[in-house]
């Protein structure tokens, strides 16, 4: 039997109609079928995945319910950081991406043509739904890495990808490649913002929310208040990971954007995703990350790994059948979150995910460790 036959439901799931994107009840059956198809494929094509399922006597052929998906062994992101797992020949991987590696270790994940087409269908659907696609050219300000041939970080690739949602008149990057490696250059971004505020072309900012926040705060302190052209948008992605200590209240952030850039809250959109779970989560007008039909989320208790009730915190376990080249079916993240199932005023029926922190305790930074880091930079 060829692969196409196995993956019918997966393809169908990633082509669902726009109005079904946030309807889990109507897509549950298709989702379970797609997960089964992909689990069977992984089981038959990835020796390490087969071993993991066999060790707990889990048969992918018998997946029929959500309960089966709860029992399907999950893989921690840590496992991908220590082991390469490919289910197709490495030659077939069109894109290789590494996670941003906040803890030092990086996962290496590859996507084949089949996985990328699923991703593309999803991105088109989701961005259309959220009115992010536009034919009007914009000036992009990317609060992330300038892409280069050797930069495999998924965030820089995603950020670059986002610049095709609307035609790009220009692209300015906050983390620029210099002779001494990458350098954060917020001054450059400030100048670009001042310049674009005088033009008629709208801007779109993309990337690490923490950098966006630092720059806007700096501009406010310096007394710089701009009015960006009509249709301008602030889009955020890449997480607050490294900046939990300075994590600001989102409301304060929205106020700051309006104050410094003259962009209203409705035009601030946040994305969430991970290399190990490349699903595009986009916040609604209430700034909630609703679960799209392409994925399901289980919140698990840290002591037992049993699912917790909605509204209770636990470790976030993300499920999707999108990727064929790597067994990314059920991923255990390092994040702690809550699923909210109460009605959202935006009208979308699916529950939403709130990320409340990371596992472990805050890194205790010593000045001496800082001195050591700075010394290395001096070398």
């Amino acid at each position: 039997m060829n692969v196409g036959d196995y993956m019918k439901s997966v393809k169908k799931l990633f082509k669902i109609k726009k109005n079904e994107i946030y309807n889990l009840a109507s897509t549950d059956e298709l989702f379970i079928k797609a997960m089964k198809e992909n689990a069977v494929f992984q089981y038959e094509n990835c020796i390490d995945y087969k071993r993991i399922l066999d060790e707990v006597a889990f048969s992918p052929y018998k997946i029929t319910t959500m309960e089966d998906l709860i029992r399907l062994p999950f893989l921690p992101t840590l496992y991908f950081k220590r082991h390469k797992m490919f289910s197709v020949s490495e030659k077939k991987l069109l894109i290789k991406a590494t996670s941003s590696g906040t803890s030092g270790l990086k996962s290496e994940i590859g996507f084949d043509f089949f996985s990328l087409i699923n991703g593309l269908n999803m991105v088109i659907n989701v961005t259309r739904f959220h009115h992010l696609l536009s034919l009007k050219p914009v000036n992009y300000l990317i609060f992330g890495y300038e892409p280069t041939s050797e930069n495999k970080t998924a965030i820089s690739k995603t950020a670059f990808g986002f610049t095709f949602f609307a035609p790009a008149l220009s692209r300015s990057y906050a983390i620029r490649k210099t002779k001494e490696g990458y350098k954060l250059d917020l001054e450059h971004m400030k100048e670009a913002l001042i310049k674009f505020s005088k033009s008629k072309t709208p801007i779109r900012t993309i990337g690490f929310p923490a950098y966006t926040y630092f720059l806007l705060k700096k501009m406010k302190d310096e007394g710089i208040f701009l009015k960006m052209p009509k249709g301008s948008m602030v889009t955020l992605g890449g997480g607050w990971k490294q900046f939990y200590t300075q994590k600001v209240d989102k409301e304060d952030f929205y106020k700051l954007v309006e104050e410094v850039l003259g962009i209203k809250e409705d035009y601030i959109i946040e994305f969430f995703g991970a290399v190990e779970h490349p699903i595009l989560y986009t916040d609604c007008r209430e700034h909630h990350f609703h679960i799209p039909a392409y994925s399901r989320i289980i919140i698990r208790h840290p002591d037992t790994f049993e699912p917790v009730a909605d509204g209770m915190p636990g470790i976030i376990n993300l499920l999707t059948p999108m990727v064929r080249s790597v067994p990314l079916l059920s991923i255990m993240t390092d994040d702690i979150g809550i699923i909210h199932n109460e009605k959202c005023p935006c009208g979308e029926p699916s529950p939403w995910l709130e990320i409340i922190g990371r596992v472990g305790i805050k890194d205790i930074i010593t000045c001496a460790a800082g001195a050591e880091k700075f010394l290395k930079e001096q070398e």
């Binding site: 840290p302 470790i315 010593t366 000045c367 460790a369």
Partner: protein, 422 residues
């Protein structure tokens, strides 16, 4: 915040203050009366009383929570500042301050002069305590706060100056961002010694930065463990489990794992299971560890189970506690927060296996009911390089007069001056 001559200044004053610091320091050495140790002890005693009365609870309690340290333990630490504690410490560490040698000259103990304390953001390196040790040995102290300092050190030290204003010329505190490398280097150049607290990388960085004429005294990270014979009593194992749960294995003296005196894997697994049941029970009695740490360790242990076909480790886990049996005899850091390893180490292999860890070795807690065997083990560990050999339950004890990582800090911060007899 900056503490300078007993007053608190904003960080924006940093460059102005540092530019005239050398003049201030040299002036104190040249014209002021050397600091009187008894006055330091009296001031510390008054401060300790205030701490014990809860005067600093608003800042102390959040600090303790960050490091998962119990309030009771903090009170024990505060007792180290009491008159009795400090007097005893000085008596032990600086005995024979003045002694005639070979009837030819007098040996006197002098302070090194100026100490730069580079503090770490953990309990082992409580920055204020490092400064107090500097004061007791008669030095002028410059403290560079760890980034993320909660303000506790400045509060405690300014209170100390308030109690005895004469101390103002001996305590300077700066909150220099770590990236201001040149500023830190200029303070280091002024100092006779840098007292650095932190991990190997931090110590290496400071050593490479220090001027050749500046002494580097490092209080680096250490590893501690327990050593048990298979006949270890349940009572000893309970004491060890209690120590593990109470310190959450975050201190240098905390037990990371247990070496078992055996070559048999079967005995190792039986022992690990026995200890796991005790650890589980004690964990229940004392209340679970921090939620975020339990979550992190649950994922690490789950990953370890997925890798079991490569490692052949035996893992016992429940309620956020675990015991992992492995085939190696490497002295390693555990996952901490009530997760220990059990490894095989027959007593005849103690010296060859542990000796290579040299300066990383700190405490061993011994669980061995037979007195003669215990004595022979103690001798082996002392020769292997351990500096604290204790009962299992006492691994993280705090007793005035104890050495620090095998050294007496007040001695480290002093020098011997030989002068003629007149």
């Amino acid at each position: 915040m900056i503490l300078y001559h007993g007053k608190i200044y904003d960080n924006s004053e940093q460059n102005r203050i540092i530019s005239k610091l050398k003049e201030d320091l040299y002036h104190s050495i040249q014209y002021k009366k050397p600091i009187n140790r008894d006055e330091v002890i009296e001031a510390c005693d008054s401060l300790a009383k205030k701490v014990l009365d809860g005067k600093f609870d608003d800042i102390v309690k959040p600090f303790l929570k960050t490091f998962s340290i119990s309030y009771e333990r903090f009170l024990t630490m505060a007792m180290m500042f009491s008159r009795e504690g400090l007097s005893y410490k000085c008596k032990i560490e600086l005995s024979d301050e003045e002694k005639i040698i070979a009837d030819r000259f007098v040996r006197k103990i002098y302070p090194l002069g100026i100490l730069l304390h580079i503090a770490a953001g953990n309990v082992d390196g409580l920055p204020a305590y490092s400064v107090v040790e500097g004061l007791l040995s008669g030095n002028i102290n410059i403290l560079k706060l760890p980034s993320g300092d909660t303000g506790l050190s400045i509060r405690l030290l300014s209170e100390l100056i308030k109690i005895n204003p004469a101390l103002a010329d001996y305590i300077y505190v700066f909150d220099i961002p770590s990236v201001e490398f040149e500023t830190i280097k200029s303070l280091a150049k002024l100092s006779d010694a840098i007292v650095v607290w932190g991990g190997d990388e931090a110590v290496c960085a400071i050593k490479s930065m220090a001027d050749i004429t500046t002494k580097v005294i490092s209080w680096g990270h250490k590893l501690s463990f327990a050593y048990a014979v298979t006949e270890a009593t349940d009572e000893d194992l309970k004491g060890l489990a209690k120590h593990i749960c109470e310190t959450n294995q975050v201190l240098c003296s905390s037990c990371q794992g247990i070496f078992l005196d055996t070559s048999s894997k079967e005995e190792q697994i039986i022992f690990a299971k026995r200890f796991f049941e005790i650890l589980k029970q004690v964990n229940k009695e004392l209340g679970l560890a921090d939620y975020g740490m339990r979550a992190q360790n649950a994922i690490r242990l789950y990953t370890e189970k997925l890798e079991n076909h490569l490692t052949a480790n035996t893992i016992f886990m429940e309620d956020g506690v675990s015991v992992v049996c492995s085939d190696d005899n490497i002295l390693s850091l555990s996952y901490m927060f009530r997760n220990v390893w059990v490894k095989r180490l027959a007593h005849e292999d103690i010296i060859p296996v542990l000796k290579p860890y040299k300066n990383h070795l700190q405490t061993v807690g011994i669980l061995c009911p037979d007195l003669n065997k215990r004595k022979s083990l103690i001798e082996k560990f002392a020769l292997a390089g351990l500096v604290r050999i204790t009962e299992a339950s006492e691994m993280s004890r705090f007793i005035p007069g104890e050495a620090h990582d095998g050294l007496y800090p007040l001695r480290e911060y002093s020098r011997i001056v030989e002068i003629p007899i007149y």
